[in-house]
């Protein structure tokens, strides 16, 4: 072994110092982030009411303030959460998740699949190879669905933004109910024994051809992974975020107080199914929909209705159905939409009943 790689007492080998180096950079970075973050509210007030000279409590002033406050806030939260979760995700790969899930029994397997769906890196364009890989490796169909439902719905972007904008209670509620929908819907699909509604060509794929693909990552690699996630995800979602905040700002400033209470309130029984069906053709991601949700809640919309709307927009999207159609026959797609839709409806009604005021 060469002297350089081993290091000495005063200068330990590079690899040993790296974690501390990154930890200190991380702490300093977080402190700077915090310094800016706590000042956002006063800076946006100053910009809106002093610099732009807008009138407080005017419609336009309220909207502009909401936009100037929420945009940097959401972006900063995204930055922090996506980076943090990116590092966590570097410990999980779809390959490992598949190895954990293959041969697992039904109900327990569904729970595990939903939980792994939260931390395993996933993008909807990978849904098809992932589906085939899971099913070919002996992961039960229902368990695979639990994963496919949880992965886009309960993710780091949704949780981070809900926590930052609406508080930890709503974030926890969303995570708990989202996971329940994924577990139960997957379990039901498994019980329906719909294996014959998978396209025939899927079973012709020779599973024995699978490659074992394994990567060893250093701390440096994981930091790079986290940073790549930031560039990739923020680069992809920022447009949605800005549009979402602009819509949210318009609602915040111009929609009269309690207007939403009549349309999306607890007393309107039809509001939950309406919100759920409105959500299906809409395609946005968590980052774009949460600022809208924030504004709707502020105007008296019921929490259950809003959660149902949000879940439906994220979990049931037409583009994903088109992708999944390549491996699933129409009936199974129909069942998928039906079962997940029912789960979302139940969540909506449950919260409207349980949460008072």
């Amino acid at each position: 072994m060469g002297k350089e790689s081993q290091g000495n007492y005063f200068f330990p080998a590079k690899a040993n110092l790296m974690p501390y180096l990154y930890l200190s950079i991380g702490l300093v970075g977080f402190y700077l982030w915090w310094l800016v973050y706590v000042r956002l509210s006063s800076v946006s007030s100053w910009l809106t009411y002093t610099l732009l000279g807008m009138e407080r409590s005017s419609h336009l002033g309220e909207s502009v303030w909401f936009f100037l406050y929420d945009s940097p806030k959401v972006m900063m939260l995204l930055l922090l959460v996506v980076f943090g979760v990116g590092i966590i995700r570097s410990f999980f790969t779809p390959e490992k998740t598949r190895a954990i899930l293959s041969g697992k029994g039904e109900f327990f397997g569904n729970i595990l699949a939903a939980l792994l769906g939260v931390v395993t890196p996933f993008c909807s364009c990978s849904a098809v190879p992932l589906f085939i890989g899971f099913v070919a490796a002996g992961v039960p169909l229902g368990v695979t669905f639990s994963f496919l439902i949880a992965a886009p719905m309960v993710n780091e972007i949704a949780l981070g933004l809900l926590y930052g904008l609406l508080g930890w209670k709503i974030a926890a509620l969303y995570m708990g109910t989202g996971l329940s929908v994924a577990v139960i819907a997957g379990w039901v699909i498994g019980k329906l024994h719909m294996e014959k509604h998978i396209e025939e060509w899927v079973s012709d794929v020779n599973a024995s051809e699978n490659f074992e693909y394994e990567e060893r990552l250093t701390i440096h690699d994981r930091v790079v992974y986290g940073w790549d996630a930031v560039k990739e995800i923020i680069g992809r979602v920022w447009v949605y975020v800005i549009i979402g905040i602009a819509v949210g700002a318009a609602i915040h400033g111009f929609v009269p107080e309690e207007f939403m209470a009549s349309v999306m309130g607890r007393d309107a029984w039809w509001s939950v199914p309406l919100a759920t069906s409105l959500g299906i053709p809409m395609y946005s991601n968590a980052a774009g929909i949460i600022p809208v949700v924030e504004a709707l809640l502020g105007k008296g919309a019921a929490l259950g209705t809003v959660l149902a709307f949000m879940m439906s927009v994220i979990a049931l999207s037409l583009p994903e159905m088109v992708i999944l159609r390549k491996v699933l026959k129409p009936r199974l797609i129909g069942v998928f939409i039906g079962v997940v839709g029912c789960g979302i409806l139940m969540v909506g009604y449950l919260f409207n009943i349980v949460i008072q005021g």
Binding site: E95, C125, S126, G133, Y213, V327
Partner: protein, 76 residues
Amino acid sequence: MEIKVLGPGCKRCKKTEKVVREAVAEAGADAKVDKITDMMEIAKYGVLGTPAVIVDAEVKSVGKIPNKEEIKSWLA
């Protein structure tokens, strides 16, 4: 040398193909680069995510855009 970039046509997949082609050109490697967009073809390789890069039937990367240095190290 045969390089296959697997991806149904999402943004990241296109980016991967571009980076691979650039790396091959820069390294002056004698390699044929193919983009595979057909789902059935992709499934045959047994990868769980896209974009994926296959060099001479060996899976080199899955679910990420590899950087040029990485790609060049596969070409050697």
